[in-house]
């Protein structure tokens, strides 16, 4: 029993120490000129959905929930955000080549259609990111239309 208490105490100390190791938050004060909403027409209804279902990991602004202030929650989250932004960052959409922008819009449609995105683990913690079929259609139609617009240019 004594050993058990010692282990518990050690774990508690480790837990307290890791609270001081905090990853930097993904929060940008300004909207970049490369933001997708600055370069293409994004209807408010679509922008709202992107905000609640995509932007936490795919933009320069994450909404941080309470568990993001407790370690190791923030670490896991920082990792997700880093990977998400590397694949697609709506805040820097304008830095991509036109070809890559088209590919991304196509990938958005297929990821939502195949239910790959938003991630299941994300939907578990974010009820509003569980998109209805109508909401999915809204995003997919917008992405398809934006992509087709390029091709007509």
């Amino acid at each position: 029993m004594k050993l058990f208490k010692k282990i518990l105490l050690a774990l508690l100390i480790v837990f307290i120490i890791i609270q001081f190791i905090r990853p930097a938050h993904n929060l940008s004060e300004q909207v970049l000129p490369t933001d997708i909403a600055k370069i293409y027409a994004v209807p408010d209804s679509v922008l709202h959905l992107l905000n609640i279902a995509c932007y936490d990991c795919h933009s320069d602004n994450t909404r941080y929930p309470y568990y993001a202030y407790v370690q190791p929650g923030a670490w896991i989250m920082a990792r997700h955000v880093r990977h998400g932004k590397a694949d697609l960052n709506f805040s820097e959409f304008g830095t991509y080549s036109i070809r890559k922008q088209q590919s991304k819009l196509k990938a958005i449609v297929s990821q939502i259609k195949d239910d790959e995105m938003p991630l299941t683990s994300y939907k578990l913690m974010h009820a509003d990111a569980r998109l209805s079929n109508e909401e999915k259609d809204l995003i997919m139609n917008w992405a398809t239309a934006t992509k087709n617009n390029f091709q007509n240019k």
Partner: protein, 192 residues
């Protein structure tokens, strides 16, 4: 005793001379081999006159792997594309070539990486292959042709929206539908 020693000596000499004869043979073999290798290198070099040769080779590897429903080989081809891109000497490109290359480079790289990372998800590889084919078409059109290529189109691919690919053979082998429907498609353009 003397007899035995001389017999041994003779045996040893014979053995050694046989050995050296063998060695000569192997030396000759090695020489032949090395000349064959250098000839081979010459061939590779003459083919790689085009700066995008390595990228095209990787692309065709992906394409041929997908016609055989082989996700692992396709993944290797994706890696080959990334490596060829890293090796490409941009300073050797003309202004027009550099423009064509830069217009697709980030997309090409990402599609190649996705194909490399998804060896177990061939449908996902094929989605990226569709985008990769567009990039590749733009590239081969802007660079000097060292071999005849074909632009093939299949209306059934890509969720029946249709998709094309680049092939080194005139015969149709469909990379989108694979063994399920290997002959769907037709040659739309001969790129010479």
């Amino acid at each position: 005793m003397k007899n035995i020693i001389s017999a041994l000596a003779i045996a040893a000499i014979t053995f050694a001379s046989c050995n050296s004869a063998d060695k000569k043979n192997t030396d000759a073999d090695v020489k032949v081999d090395s000349s064959a290798t250098s000839m081979h290198t010459d061939i590779v070099q003459s083919q790689s006159e085009s700066p995008i040769h390595g990228i095209l080779t990787g692309y065709l590897q992906v394409k041929n792997a997908l016609t055989n429903d082989n996700g692992n080989d396709a993944a290797d081809g994706g890696k080959a594309i990334s490596e060829a891109m890293a090796k490409l000497d941009k300073s050797s490109l003309s202004a027009a070539q550099a423009k064509a290359y830069n217009a697709v480079a980030d997309d090409l790289k990402e599609n190649a990486e996705h194909i490399n990372e998804n060896s177990g998800k061939i449908d996902h590889q094929r989605e990226h292959f569709e985008m990769l084919s567009q990039d590749m078409y733009d590239l081969v059109k802007s660079f000097d042709k060292t071999q005849t290529l074909y632009k093939d189109f299949c209306p059934m691919a890509n969720d029946k929206k249709g998709a094309f690919w680049i092939s080194e053979t005139k015969e149709i082998k469909n990379p989108y539908l694979g063994k399920k429907m290997p002959t769907c498609g037709e040659v739309k353009e001969e790129i010479k």
